[in-house]
Amino acid sequence: MRKQIHILSVFIICSSILIGCTSNKNDDLNYKISINESLGAILKDSSRVSPEKMADIIYNNNTQFRLIDIRNPNDYIKGHVPGAINIPGHDILNPQYKKYLNQDDVINILYCHSAMKATEAWFLLFQLGYKNNLYFHGGYHYIKENILDAYKVNSSMGYDEKEKYDYNAIMKSLGAKSSGTSSSISAPALNAPITKKKKAVQGGC
């Protein structure tokens, strides 16, 4: 009987060690949103604030929203949107900021120098399950020039994924053939190198 108790306790210790090793210590920074859902959110594009909406929020001082400047503190001190708070982008996972970035009271709008940085920061927070965050594509300079100094909002400008040029027209103006033919040429050519290459590498070693 004693032996059984001994064995049982050994078993319990072993299993608790195993479980302890596998569970992540910092549960706060685990991805709460699956990768499929995350990609879906980027594609849906519903968390991006349009320049018109941004202007509306800034002009009307809408307290439902809070602007978060994710540039570094130096840039923030030099100039920022009135009412914006500063959370440097490299520090957004710092636990001390969690109460601002994951809450139910207001809706945060992240902005940075450029579209890409704000999108990135938002995307990371979203994947971690942080709620009530949106992002703005135009950077601070866009806001300053087109919203704060004068109203010059043009919906195409604050969005970096907008095609600024007609690529085909440019190619034609440079004297290239119509791209219809060029795509038919390059597509089959590229299937080949990858598989062949991989094989070649293995063979060599």
Binding site: K3, Q4, I7, F11, C14, S15, L18, T22, S23, L29, N30, Y31, I35, N36, S38, L39, I42, L43, G89, H90, L93, S114, A115, M116, E120, F123, L124, Q127, L128, D160, E161, K162, E163, K164, Y167, N168, I170, M171, L174, G175, A176, K177, S179, T181, S182, I185, S186, A187, A189, L190, A192, P193, I194, K196, K197, K198, A200, V201, G204, C205
Partner: protein, 204 residues
Amino acid sequence: MNKKYIFPVIILLLLGAILLLIPHKDNSQKELSAEQLLLEMNGISRFFSTEKVADMMINKDPSLLLIDVRPQEKYKEFHLPGAINIPIDSFLTETWKPYLNQIAMNNIFYSNGTSLADAAWMICRRQNFNNNYVLEGGLNAWVETVLKPEKPVTDNPSEEFNKYQQQKGASIFFGGGDAGAESNITAPVPKVQVKKKKKVQGGC
């Protein structure tokens, strides 16, 4: 005798059952931690400038693979020479996994701007895929710096003019100064790559 062994056996079975559950947990942990992802997000090593990529294309860098993450219709309308199309909405399908999770090539994602390609990069990094990079500025920057470079103002330093001359050369290369140029360029590139690689291995 029998009783003596029943408990150890049960324990071993139970521990085995727990071990069975562990790989499942490990799989989810194979994802890159959020801290690490943030660290890499703030670095700039994932970015390739348009000039750099143009240079690699002209020199027929065999490790370069351009991946257009825009929708298929956009890709059919226009894409960079030699680029393949993996629309970002199909990034998680198994078909494209061998392209995105590999060690042979340097994949460079591009879209119209930077942010969509960058989101694609984050999707790949979270899954711990390596060798994926982003074309900084995307196709818009490609037009501005490679296809239609701006002539520097006359009082700029001479380096600016040298750079402009290079860009102009690249513009002729990619724009195809004469009609036949582009098709001639894109088609033979892969063949050359394959031969080159084989030679190198022979040397080893």
